[in-house]
Symmetry: C2
Subunit: 596 residues, 2 copies
């Protein structure tokens, strides 16, 4: 990613120095307003995602201070808002839950260690410019994973709506646990939770059109809409306090410690680190992909750019910051970044102001959240994550590309059936295997001359001239180990089937690279053809490929020649084709494999 | 592999029916002579490779009867000779040694089970047409693996030459064990072993030229040379008997049970099967790759062809045959197949005659091998496997392609340092990762018009005309998930750097496929460009790619157009370039990433 620009700067750079110099009053206004709105939005989100991760609610606030400050210093996006996000919180819960019981100090300590490892990995990847690793998460895999995660998260929150306890790292276990607990449902909690969910859905879908009908501008309407969760929290907290819901058995947030985020250290335990290594890597990559795609989308709107390797450094610093201040893994969030952008944030200073806002909330606001029903937080999560669920991708990939469909379906099913970590690994494995399978069967066309031109076309699609003494093959793929043998097979079969064959010409116009395996295959093909009295020729070899071939013995020993154009090859080897005396007689061997 | 020919036959077919019908006296002569020579060669090899695999010597003979008969029925190669081979025997020893102690009945039983699993996997892969799996073993990985295996095998035989016991699954352990045992060396054994080794090396290198100087034809000289091990066995066995070497403490083969191969069954134990699954798969794939490359090379010499999926079926049947007759994993061997071919074998009937020859040997010859020194067998193995060692591949790949060099070196080192199984897995992993890394950074050239022509060339290599309002990008790779984002980056950066930009045209002539991820990236690029007031156009889209794009929303919403040729695009969008009023001003962003 952006490897072409490595010469422009040494890492880590400080984007702060660039925008800091030009800071003025107007920018301050924009940043200040945006920060206020994002702070209001981030408080309930932070509490909710901490609970989703199995942590005390205040940990969500801690994770929304230092990371924002560090991102403002190192980040290359002007408007990205970092902090706890849904999918990463789910992955945190799945990982930490294997090492400690939720609600214990040990659990929090593992989460801190996970943030530390994830931060260290992101930082290392940034400094080593390994951002391309994120490319191995294909869009279908991400879509399948996000959809399945959304369903898992929503299902995990249903227990809070019902006021019961139910655990499970996959969808089936979760649903089974919920079914077992159905008789223990706390009906007041469920009623409040369902109403809060309905209210939030309405705010999301129905409020904005209503406000716009009332003459409010779309941007302002959008921002008011984003404050919906705050309204839900204010209303249900007041009711819980006024109507004594706590005494009726409803679970509330309760006492949140007031004060600055604590200074914490990760656990220095090699055995634990080894076990957390793979989950930390997956969390890092998923967080990075989410963050960079949001950042790029928003930067492009203002013709700005972000530097993926710099983003790795910034997210690494943010997660290290989270680890040392009692937080858990964070990344750039989609919804909050869009709100920040729409509200007029100009520079990362908005992030600094947001961090200050959250810090003030930790210091002053937490007593006010004492009576906040946990079901309300569950409702905000459910509404947020269900917008991530997109089954349409199954339909779209089914019609566009079956291998992509298989990758989506495999990721989705594995995530739901086994869990987030397995789901991601299955998705990456399946998409790589399918890609390799596809390129291992390259499209190889037997081509012939279009009469009266110098063009060659597939003998199966066009009426063309060929000679029984010459075989023209066009390979529509770079040659590498996974497909080199299929070229061998094709040439072998043709040589066996065409007794009059004297020349094979490979038209190399679509070959961008020939690796060492493919070079050996070409040598094998050449030897076998030579044994059978057939010469091998090449035509239209690209410059960089020719440069590499010149360093080898292959060209020196080639039984045939290298022609600049395919027409020159045919004109030199079988001129009768040009004069129309040769006839077009593709053999049965020219039938092509069907390609998905 | 050969997927294009699936319609021609249903599997499993019986090639036997084809060549059996045309069998005549002349074919019989050719097959008979070849079988005699291969039998003479195969007896010492079978004994030696059984010892290498940690099994009693007669097991090597058992593994050379039923598998040959079954290959003759199912195999598509006319001349392939199957049986125990060096690398597969080493892999068998490494695997079985983890489950039982060498020399015990339990050890033999695990080897039988391994042959059964490998046979079942090969058969299943053949019936499911999964032969392409073998493509994932790249030539560099195979070279590195074979070289390292040759060194490991040679080192493992040194203990027999020294007449001591020393175990170790990797090179370092083996050498250390040998060093510890140096003081226990049995000097008579070492002397005989070293002399036998020297004799066999001389036979291999010096005898053929000598025979040819004596006026013997090269083919006959070659066959005499291959009988060298038989001479070494005859001489040392006679000396051991005559000079009473056994009484002096030399290890001899001893009593080999006379009789038909026993009927055996694999162990039906799910836990054992699970543990043997990965090694069995690796043995299957390595055996298949070795066998198919020999088979194809020999078939091509006579313009015959072999069917890889049929070969899987035949090798599967051969290994199942080995499992049910007391054998161990087998495959098509290189040296013996070449001898079979050179000696004039015409049909798989030669294999049947060879099987009969080995069977007679098991019935009659084994008492004659009683005094055969084990050191002689070790010498035949050492000489055979050292010809597999090829460090030249390191040099060749270093100069041709650094990623291939890394793959060779990683495979070689991992095999020597850890063992055969890890070595292969590391090799496959590294070569896949490097391939993906390379294609994840596609060559994307900014192109401009060559004045006076309709051709477009890289702005960095040619004096061309460009316009500040139009960016022409040529992508030299199919677009898929691993490289889609780098196109996004390139376009984003260009849009940010070129304020006058109004049109981006992607020249798609080298794009053979666009997967769902790349399609989403194109949509993202289109949206971002549209937000910045820039239109996205495509040119020279290939037919199959266009067919797929037509099924999507992308083309309907495209802000620009799809042009048949890139020249038409530029002529329509920025005609000033054609008239020479625009100047060639590539920006700094046109600097390309360096490619390995």
């Amino acid at each position: 990613m952006a490897t072409g620009f490595a010469w422009r700067q040494a890492l880590p750079s400080l984007p702060l120095l660039e925008w800091g110099r030009r800071y003025d009053r107007e920018t301050l206004m924009g940043d200040g307003v945006a920060a206020l709105i994002v702070t209001i939005m981030l408080i309930p989100q932070s509490l909710a995602y901490a609970l989703l991760a199995g942590l005390p609610p205040e940990v969500g606030l801690y994770a929304s201070v230092a990371p924002l400050l560090l991102y403002a210093v190192f980040g290359s996006s002007r408007v990205l808002a970092v902090g706890p996000v849904a999918v990463v919180s789910l992955m945190t819960a799945a990982t930490v839950g294997e090492h400690a019981a939720a609600g214990t100090a040990a659990y929090w300590q593992v989460a801190i260690t996970l943030a530390f490892l994830s931060g260290a990995m992101l930082l290392a990847m940034g400094l080593l410019r390994l951002g391309f690793i994120a490319n191995f998460l294909s869009h279908p895999v991400i879509s399948g994973f996000i959809t399945a995660s959304g369903l898992l998260i929503a299902a995990s929150q249903v227990k809070t709506l019902m006021g019961v306890k139910a655990e499970g790292h996959n969808f089936v276990d979760l649903l089974a646990a919920l079914a077992r607990q159905a008789s223990n449902t706390h009906w007041l909690t469920l009623t409040v939770g369902v109403l809060a969910t309905a209210f939030l859905f309405w705010v999301r879908k129905g409020l904005k059109p209503l406000l716009m009908r009332w003459g409010i501008g779309p941007k302002v309407a959008d921002i008011i809409t984003k404050a919906g969760p705050v309204a839900a929290i204010a209303i249900t907290t007041s009711l819980a306090w006024g109507l004594g819901w706590r005494e009726q058995g409803m679970k509330i947030v309760g006492a949140i410690p007031q004060g600055l985020p604590p200074l914490t250290l990760p656990t220095w335990d090699a055995a634990l680190w080894r076990e957390l290594a793979v989950p930390a890597l997956l969390i890092s990559v998923v967080g990075f992909v989410e963050s960079v795609s949001v950042g790029q989308t928003l930067a492009a709107k203002r013709r700005q750019r972000i530097e993926p390797d710099q983003e790795l450094v910034a997210l690494g610093a943010s997660n290290l910051g989270a680890a040392f201040t009692g937080g858990f893994p964070v990344t750039g969030g989609f919804a909050r970044s869009v709100v920040n952008f729409d509200a007029g944030a100009q520079t990362p200073a908005a992030g600094v102001f947001t961090a200050v806002g959250i810090l003030l909330a930790t210091l002053l606001l937490t007593p006010a959240l004492y009576f906040l029903p946990q079901a309300t937080l569950a409702a905000t999560i459910i509404v947020a994550v269900l917008s991530l669920v997109d089954f349409g991708v199954l339909k779209r990939t089914w019609f566009y590309s079956k291998p992509d469909f298989v990758a989506v379906a495999a990721t989705l099913l594995a995530t739901l059936a086994v869990g987030v970590e397995t789901g991601l690994l299955v998705g990456v494995g399946v998409s790589l295997a399918l890609h390799l399978w596809r390129t291992s069967r390259p499209h190889i066309a037997t081509v012939g001359l279009v009469a009266g031109t110098e063009h060659f076309r597939n003998v199966l699609r066009h009426p063309v001239r060929v000679s029984p003494a010459l075989l023209s093959l066009r390979v529509d793929e770079s040659l590498y180990f996974a497909n080199a043998r299929s070229l061998e097979d094709r040439v072998n079969d043709a040589a066996a089937a065409q007794p009059a064959l004297r020349h094979v010409v490979l038209q190399c116009s679509a070959i961008n690279n020939i690796d060492a395996s493919a070079l050996e295959s070409l040598e094998t093909i050449e030897h076998r053809l030579r044994d059978a009295g057939i010469a091998l020729h090449l035509s239209e070899v690209k410059g960089p490929v020719m440069d590499r071939l010149r360093t080898t013995e292959f060209l020196r020993h080639l039984s045939g020649q290298v022609f600049l154009t395919h027409f020159q090859a045919v004109a030199a080897l079988t001129p009768d084709v040009l004069n129309g005396t040769a006839t077009a007689t593709p053999t049965t061997l020219d039938r092509e494999p069907s390609h998905a």
